[in-house]
Symmetry: D5
Subunit: 187 residues, 10 copies
């Protein structure tokens, strides 16, 4: 079964966030929109570019009332050092979650058994903890955070306007469609 429209499973993890260690659980994801971004490992090559991309767009996510979470199977200790030593990662003002128990990578179905690391998975989650979009790449292919932002905005728009749908390549401000009997077979 696809994870779309299912609840995030219960979890408990330690994160490095703005110079402190904090605990993050499934309750942390309730009450506001979240974007959860898995990546393979600290101190590697592509991951810092993706974190920097997220950091550069963080203002837009915050404007959309959304928290961003980075997850790897490293510890929160490694995340602190990574944050201190990497110019790119150092820009992150959002939590860097450590998942050495593999609880999160398994719950989101992005675990690579033979490596103990995560695939590049991105999940848009609504304030009820329900997953609305799933995106997973083989690890050599990085993401574009602006597309994640577009999906988030479409998810937020349709949540706010339950009788409308966002058509192909919809961006914030574009026209939407209101499904009706009359339109069946006419588009």
């Amino acid at each position: 079964m696809s994870l779309i429209n299912t609840q995030v499973q219960p979890f408990k993890a330690q994160a490095f966030h703005n110079g402190k260690f904090i605990e993050v659980t499934e309750a942390s994801l309730k009450g506001k929109w979240s974007v959860v971004i898995f990546m393979p490992a600290a101190f590697t090559f592509n991951c810092p570019t993706e974190i920097e991309d997220a950091a550069n767009n963080y203002a837009a996510f915050q404007k959309a009332g959304t928290e961003v979470y980075i997850v790897t199977t490293d510890t929160h200790f490694s995340h602190k050092v990574w944050h201190e030593t990497s110019p790119a990662v150092g820009k992150a003002q959002f939590p860097l979650i450590g998942d050495p128990t593999h609880q999160l990578t398994r719950a989101f179905d992005v675990h690579i058994d033979s490596e103990g690391l995560a695939l590049r998975g991105t999940f848009v989650i609504n304030p009820d903890g329900v997953i609305k979009t799933v995106e997973i790449h083989s690890n050599e292919i990085a993401r574009d955070i602006s597309e994640t932002l577009r999906k988030l905005q479409a998810a937020q728009y349709t949540a706010a306007h339950p009788n409308e749908v966002c058509p192909a390549k919809w961006h914030e401000g574009d026209a939407t469609l209101a499904p009706s009997l009359d339109l069946v077979g006419k588009i």
Copy 2:
């Protein structure tokens, strides 16, 4: 387990393609790149906009040596009528696969049991029939085919250059990264 880096399962289906009924199987996906696009149902609202978006970009996919497949749980009979009656769908020059047996929606994990319909799932598949990217939306949120094209190109580039990776927001022509011991902990 995620479908990333697994083989497409064997299947057999009927499609409407350029005025004919053809048979499509897992063998049809071998030897060239494929993009497989699931959508809920013929004659509905958002699906035609997504097919039109794909049709408008079909030249770029063809230039990238890639076939596009649309899949719904309708029959190929419905797909012929849809193609004939919808101005948007009528632009499609790629196969419209009928999946009334639900074989494909289950194999790609996009089936909605309570409706008998597909989620909006997009899959980039390499010439060996191996899935490289997965993208699935709740049905009220449509896709942007230009992002699919970007992922395809990144998948093709890294397949051709196995010692390089495509960094965040990479578009065709952008610089890539070559992982090395020296870079560990330095980005």
Copy 3:
């Protein structure tokens, strides 16, 4: 076990009926007689002739206080388009049920696994939701709705006259038989 004299199983489906989408459930079949007619797929060859045959006899079914239901594994969206585009199907004033979940084709044991389509099955159902006659054809062989009408009338007559039975080739108005000890071995 044969379905004869068993209850229709619970179900929920969408239908196109007289220009609207309606929900049909097992409760819809209670309180009056029903004839449920399965056929393979919208937009095909033989199915419209059978729907037209039913439409031409619909007055007689209505006179017998009976609703007619057409069922295929297509969606109700396809049924709307079919009704609008087919001269034969356009005559139907009874509900066209969509069964993309295969709930009904499986419950009435007319599902073809390898095709995801229905066999030509016809069922006469009494106001308690109990199946009184079953008729199923291989799909190349169409039905004659006048025989279904004859069966319905015999079922109604014997329901109203529990001490009588309808003999071979009985048509409405013909004489019936009243079983009794005296007749045993005498006919």
Copy 4:
């Protein structure tokens, strides 16, 4: 699973036929068309009228190269006496099969467990022993053998002309349909 398009299961039974006791097996059904007619019990009320109806149409079945078989769960001994004592049954020139082991009633799914008797089931079977039509009634509702003859003739016609189908209420000599891509959505 429906019995349509499945093989008759192996069986062995004794029958009374033209003054003799004969053995009937699944091999007896191979090489020519067959109509197998189940009914509840010898010496009862409606069954003789159905046998008489079949007897009166036997010439047409013979002309169509088809054997008729009557089956009840009585013994062949009872069938001999029934044939001798019932004016209606006495007209039968086809085999009356005894099924006291319930092998046939179970194989054709017409057995009533609580009574040890058969439902009124009719089966048209092709020369390969494959079931093409199924018809089953609650026992208070008798059949019309002329409809069985119509189905048989449609089954024979489509077997002989595999690219044609018989439309609704087709009778021998009527026009048929040849399915083609062009006709999809046009009838």
Copy 5:
């Protein structure tokens, strides 16, 4: 385990008795002595001679307060015709039970699976529904009802005189034995 000294299992069957159809159950066997006689099939060869033998001795059974039951796997309809057409069977004034469900032949362990018919089994049953004697023959060997009467009388005598036993070849009126310590090893 032998059936001796076990309770008759619950059952429900239809019988032909003195011109009427009656229902017989395990409750029918309570409160008086019963003799239950199974035989293969109506309208056969040996069975009528056994029924006639029972009929000729029926007065003695009635004098002993005992009902006689004949059972075959035929229907009660066949039993009525048998009674009307066979001079031997026509003498029977006791119930002829039909067992087309095979409930009784299986409960008394006299069912022949390959034929669907009963073995020649005879059972003497006391007013508590407990089986006191069992006698079963291969079907080519008929019974002598006078021996059944002798067993019945011995069963009744020992039921009435619990401290006595009936010795070999005891007939009504013969001396009995009263077991005692003194007799041990002395006879």
Copy 6:
């Protein structure tokens, strides 16, 4: 399943016979007819009368080429002493089998679990080791050996004349019946 027309199971037992201890097995029962008579226990009350009854008729059994076997769950040692001390048992010229292992009482389904003793069971067995008649009494009811002789003779006659059956109360020399189609429903 009834034991009628089944093979005697393999066994090995010790018997007292004409002043000697002998071994009896299932092979001993092959090649001639046998009558196997179970009784509860040596040194009791009714058993000697039954053995005496058998002894008095032993000449007739021998004339019919038949051996008689008495079986109890006592040892062959007890049987020797019983033979020496009981005037009635002392007449026995046939084997007295000891069955302290309960192998025979269980194989012939006459074992009483709560007592470790046999029921009064009598079995006529043909030269192939196949059981043709079964007779079992509750232990307070003794047998009449003359009826056993009658059954044996009927079994032997029908074995020798496979197209004939012995009618009710048949005794050696009486007329038999030859089943034929013509007789069906006529007796």
Copy 7:
């Protein structure tokens, strides 16, 4: 697990004792000491010598407040005859238990499956029904009852003096040992 220091299992058996038949159960063994002696079969060779040996020492057992029980798998009927006819067995004033159900031989683990007989087992049991000594011989080796008496007396002495133990070859009246820390490693 050894039977030593376990409870005798519940049982019910018939015995011959001083000219009467009595019932013996596990309750009979409570409240006084018991010696239970199994032997193979009545009327054999060695068993009478062992019963005679027990009878000659019965006064000593009675003086020790102990009952003696003989058990074989014969019936109590056989035991009566054995007592009457054997000069040796006739001396027995203690119960001769019949165990045709094999309940006791199995509970005391002395049953020989292939013979249905007991091994020569001897058990000393205390007034709580707890087994204190076990002695079992292959049947060709008889016992010496004086050793059983010695064991009984040692069991009784240690039961009465829980701080003492009876050393090797202890006989009534001999010195005993009182275990103490000081003696550890000193004897």
Copy 8:
């Protein structure tokens, strides 16, 4: 199942014997008679008296071609120290087997689970490794080695004279019994 007449199970153990450590296995028991004597623990109270009793009779066992083995669950190290420090145990010229793995105490069914120690079990074993007598005491009751010697001699005599049995209280040189048909019921 009793251990009587079963093979000793395979085992391997270390023993202290005449100043050396030796290995003892089931093979050590083959080819001559053995007496295996279990006792609870080294350095305790009663065990030395039993070892001394065995040592005092060792000449008679040797004359009978028989080895004696003492077994406890202690180690062979403890047995060496016991032999050196105990005047009684020091007399032993036969092997003292250590069984800390509990292999032997479990194989001979003398293990006390709650203590990890052996019961007082004595076993006479023939040169084929077959157990002929079993004797087990609750641990407060010691044995008399002279009775073990008597049993051994009876076992040896009957092994040498298979047509004779040793009667009750037989001692070497006493008369034996030769079972025969004539003796049945006469002793």
Copy 9:
């Protein structure tokens, strides 16, 4: 799962301690610190040197409020003799536990199945019965009790100072570390 930070399992054993036999259970280990030391067997070679080593350091353990327990699979009887006869073992003022049931060697996972003996295992246990350190050697390698003392003191120090940890080669009195966010990645 490692035993570290798990509760000691319930047990009951006998020990020799200061000239007396005492019972030791899991409750004995509660309320103060314990060191449990397993060794293979009494009267062997290396074990006395280890006991002597422990005895020489016993004052330090007592000063640390800690009891020492020696455990082997021998009995407490052997331990008394060992204590009396070995100059090294005689120095022990702490309990010598006998574990002939193997309850402790299995609970602490130091049992050698093929020998019935313990491995050289050492366990530091806190006053809640929780195991804090595990150390197990192949039996040819003895321990150094001073290292056990060092571990005990580190365990006690960290129990008393929950915000500090003892660094490598810490000995009583050395500096400790106080983990803090600031130290992460800085040592």
Copy 10:
């Protein structure tokens, strides 16, 4: 079962070693002695002190022909950064193995499920890949590498001198013990 004297299980892992990434498997541990040291996590508090302690003693291990391996559940990427940034860890000239798959922590039974981290476990392994000593601490208690060196030397000495054992607190050069019968019970 303890891991002592068992083979290291097959594994495959990446390590940082002298500026390079290398692969380490169970084969890497064959042919020379190894010391495998688990610790919780990179960048923490106590682990660097333990690595430094090992580094300071590495010359002695090398002299003893022994490789040292550090293992945490971090990646080899983190180990490279740790080595570069920690003054203490930077001294390590031996491999730092990354175990993000938890294959090693589970195989050596030092995994903490609730944290995804290792316990402080130390293992001395011989050139056949067989574990000779196990030492595991709760994580707040660090180790003393000099004791590990002592164990290694004792393991090497006894491997080279199979008839000798190393007594308590043995250090290289100390006297050893040669077990013999004479020493039993004498130390």
